[in-house]
């Protein structure tokens, strides 16, 4: 039998008990006497005084408004953009600023002078057709400062001349001794590695080479495009049809002038029929239009390009460290797929490691990055060893407590590096004078100014120089 206290408690329960002040429930005396289970109180309550509404705030006093939703104060009420619009906005490449002054003394590069040694230490303009081609292979990056100047122009620094030398070596090699030069670009953050890659592509375009550029290795391995196992491959390799088709369309668009003049001379067996007397541009376009056949067509295109008598090739990749590890794709038994098992990457890697050479000569370039690089201890170690071998210094020893990726070390065993360092003061001066001539730097560019900016930029780091001169401090 329940106790009397319990019964009394039960009788005092009211439907709207929660509306009482908290003290009321604790103090039995102040509890209003209402009959149990009655709805009369709510029914006969004053209809004007709504629940939860106290007296209106005094005139002139500020009240705290913590409402959420439509009537909340200070809310961004703008319409939301359409799907894809934001990313397009973020990835937009702007290559011209109509407000910037036109530099009268700016000379253009052309086919004859692009490899010349005399260009060193000068800012030179890029011709329009090359700009279009570079845009097609996505060589321009959003982080670079192209959008501030009237038209794209680039500084020929010491490292650029080195790359020009390499290209000249490839071109001047005689028949039968064609060279495949492999280089990995290393250097500090913002020191101009991607820009140097762009300059190499630019020279290749101007010298009528065929350019194959993988603009960002990250896009290949982050599993944003479809993949499928390659039939009859052991160990299993994986093709990326959509990505390969996009790459083929880039190749076709960027190298249009060269590929149009190269007829198909082999008789490739392709899933899609090729019209007779077609050229390589048509071949690439068919691959771009049919993603399911893109990998065989890429192979056929490559076989065509490596036939004797074809132009030299340049093969480039940016963000190297992304492919030196497991990709984000999963195999059928839910194991991560190593990036080297993706067909496109294994194709590139076989050229970077020197396993396959380019019969018509060519350049294989890979740029590392320090802004967005997943850690790959094997790659870092291999590149450090290569750097010490090339530029001197004590060769480091492998830390035995780190996991070694044998596939990576075997690829990068005998690769050479090209270090992108800081600008010299003369180069910095030339760049700052170009900024001033474009109207971006206001004020006199004299020795003191150059020295100040050069020092602030960490002894001539190219990106930092741009930052201190025209970006952060206007």
């Amino acid at each position: 039998m329940p106790s009397s206290t319990c019964l009394r408690r039960f009788s005092q329960l009211s439907l709207d008990n929660a509306s009482y002040a908290p003290i009321a429930s604790r103090n039995l005396l102040t509890t209003p006497q209402a009959s149990c289970f009655s709805t009369s109180r709510a029914r006969y309550a004053n209809p004007t005084a709504r629940k939860g509404m106290v007296a209106p705030p005094k005139r002139g006093t500020k009240t705290l408004n913590v409402k959420k939703g439509k009537s909340a104060p200070g809310r961004d009420t703008g319409k939301r953009p359409a799907p894809g619009e934001r990313k397009a906005m973020r990835k937009r490449i702007v290559l011209s600023n109509i407000n910037a002054l036109e530099v009268r003394t700016l000379k253009d590069l052309d086919k004859a002078n692009v490899l010349s040694k005399n260009n060193e230490g000068q800012v030179l303009g890029l011709p329009n057709e090359v700009v279009d081609a570079l845009r097609a292979v996505e060589a321009f990056k959003t982080t670079q400062g192209w959008s501030l100047f009237r038209r794209p122009a680039t500084l020929y620094r010491k490292e650029t001349t080195e790359v020009a030398e390499l290209i000249k070596q490839v071109e001047e090699a005689g028949e039968g001794q064609k060279k495949t030069i492999r280089r990995v670009l290393i250097g500090d953050r913002m020191s101009g590695k991607s820009t140097l890659l762009l300059q190499a592509l630019m020279m290749a375009f101007m010298r009528d080479w065929v350019v194959v550029n993988l603009p960002d290795a990250k896009d290949i391995v982050i599993a944003h495009t479809e993949y499928a196992p390659l039939p009859n491959s052991n160990p299993t390799q994986y093709t990326q049809d959509a990505y390969t088709a996009a790459l083929l369309s880039q190749i076709s668009k960027a190298n249009e002038a060269v590929l149009q003049n190269l007829p198909v001379i082999t008789n490739p067996t392709l899933p899609i029929a090729l019209p007779s007397k077609s050229n390589l541009k048509q071949l690439a376009d068919i691959g771009a239009a049919n993603p399911e056949a893109s990998w065989p067509i890429f192979n056929a295109l490559w076989a065509e390009l490596t036939k004797p008598g074809r132009p030299p090739l340049i093969l480039a990749i940016d963000n190297l460290s992304h492919i030196m590890r497991h990709s984000a794709y999963l195999s059928a038994d839910v194991k991560p797929i190593h990036a080297f098992d993706l067909t496109l990457i294994s194709h590139f890697i076989s050229h970077l490691s020197g396993q396959t050479s380019l019969p018509n000569g060519g350049l294989v370039l890979a740029a590392t990055t320090n802004s967005n690089s997943p850690s790959s201890p094997a790659m870092e170690f291999s590149l450090e060893v290569a750097e010490k071998k090339r530029y001197g210094g004590e060769v480091p020893r492998w830390n035995p407590y780190k996991h070694v990726d044998e596939r990576v070390t075997s690829v990068l065993r005998d690769v050479e590096v090209l270090k992108v360092g800081g600008l010299s003061k003369e180069e910095a001066r030339c760049l700052l004078e170009y900024y001033a001539a474009s109207g971006m730097v206001r004020g006199r560019v004299d020795e003191g100014y150059v020295g100040e900016k050069w020092s602030l930029a960490g002894m001539g780091n190219c990106g930092e120089l741009e930052r201190v001169a025209i970006r952060m401090r206007v």
Partner: protein, 342 residues
């Protein structure tokens, strides 16, 4: 279209003239500057003084000391004793005195007179030349050259600065005052560097945006430069936008002064900094209400920049706000309490 700026003043030759190696002079690794100050541990007197009491046994003072004493007697200013005696200058042109010099100084004099290089027969140099001059060797010390000539002001090692010292020479006042103020108003949660990045994005957006068209019904402040000059001077652009919409006054509500529980609206003039602050806050509020189109970090900066452009072009709602405040101020001008005239 006529050129917006004097282009010729900017056009300057780009080609780079390589510095010839001959200009590079070998600098000592340790830069020994002539010491201008004496350490506390130095003896008070030069070594030539003797502390013997008898005048006759004291050694004769050296040339400089003698000259100093003579000058003191004459009431003129003699040579400074702490710098040592410039023996070379003293014996200049005095053959007899030169013969009495120590051998090393005589050799130095002779070599200076003949003005020839080192005597050796080597055709090559044995000194090292830097690989790329000025990058590794100087370790970031900019323009650190040994003062070749003695400064004309004694006690100042690097010469006196030219006066007046520019305002932005101080670390704390290196930015333009408007830029500084707007940056601080942009700052949220004390994140100054984020605000600074936003500020630089705003200025870059102003630089790349097309030239604004001025609305004649919304005139900018008098003395504003033509709009074609604005994009290349983004700080001026920013200042112009802010100063143009800045209200001249604010309305202070004096409670109970009007009687009957109504607050009395009193217009109060604002100072320049306060005016700018009000304008920036209006602009920020208007920018927040704008449509956000992109993604990533630069969105807010872009909206603020667009709002600034629309202010200059007279499209912004901030102008209405300024107008309303001024109208209210005019209506309430009778409430202004002026100091009583005597």
């Amino acid at each position: 279209m006529p050129p917006r700026l004097n282009i010729l003043s900017f056009a300057r030759s780009i080609p780079y003239r390589p510095k010839s190696q001959a200009q590079w002079h070998v600098q000592p690794t340790i830069r020994a500057a002539p010491s201008q100050s004496r350490a506390f541990s130095d003896p008070k007197d030069p070594p030539s003084t003797d502390r013997s009491t008898r005048i006759g046994s004291q050694p004769l003072p050296d040339v400089s000391e003698e000259a100093a004493k003579t000058a003191e007697i004459k009431g003129a200013q003699g040579p400074e004793l702490e710098k040592g005696t410039p023996v070379g200058e003293v014996v200049k042109g005095d053959k007899a005195a030169q013969e009495k010099l120590p051998k090393i100084m005589q050799d130095a004099l002779k070599s200076k007179m003949s003005a020839s290089g080192p005597k050796g027969s080597r055709s090559y140099s044995t000194t090292t030349t830097p690989i790329n001059s000025g990058s590794g060797v100087e370790l970031g010390l900019v323009d650190f050259h040994l003062a070749t000539s003695t400064p004309d002001v004694p006690g100042v090692k690097f010469g006196l600065p030219t006066l007046p010292i520019p305002r932005d020479a101080n670390l704390k006042y290196r930015y333009d005052p408007v830029v500084d103020q707007v940056t601080n108003l942009l700052m949220r949660h004390g994140q100054l560097s984020v605000a600074q990045r936003n500020m630089s994005l705003i200025l870059n957006h102003l630089r790349t945006a097309p030239v604004p068209t001025i609305n004649p019904s919304r005139p900018l402040i008098p003395g504003a430069p033509p709009p074609s000059h604005l994009p290349l001077n983004p700080i001026l652009y920013l200042t112009l936008a802010i100063d143009s919409v800045a209200p001249l006054l604010r309305i202070r509500s004096q409670k109970g002064a009007a009687g009957g529980g109504v607050a009395l609206q009193i217009p109060v003039p604002l100072g320049q900094r306060q005016r700018r602050r009000t304008a920036v806050q209006w602009i920020l509020a208007a920018a927040t209400r704008r449509r956000h189109r992109g993604s990533g970090k630069g969105g807010f900066a872009q909206r603020i920049a667009e709002e600034l452009i629309s202010v200059v072009e007279g499209r912004s709602a901030v102008w209405e706000r300024r107008h309303a405040v001024h109208k209210l101020g005019v209506a309430a001008r009778a409430n202004v309490v002026l100091p009583r005239k005597r």
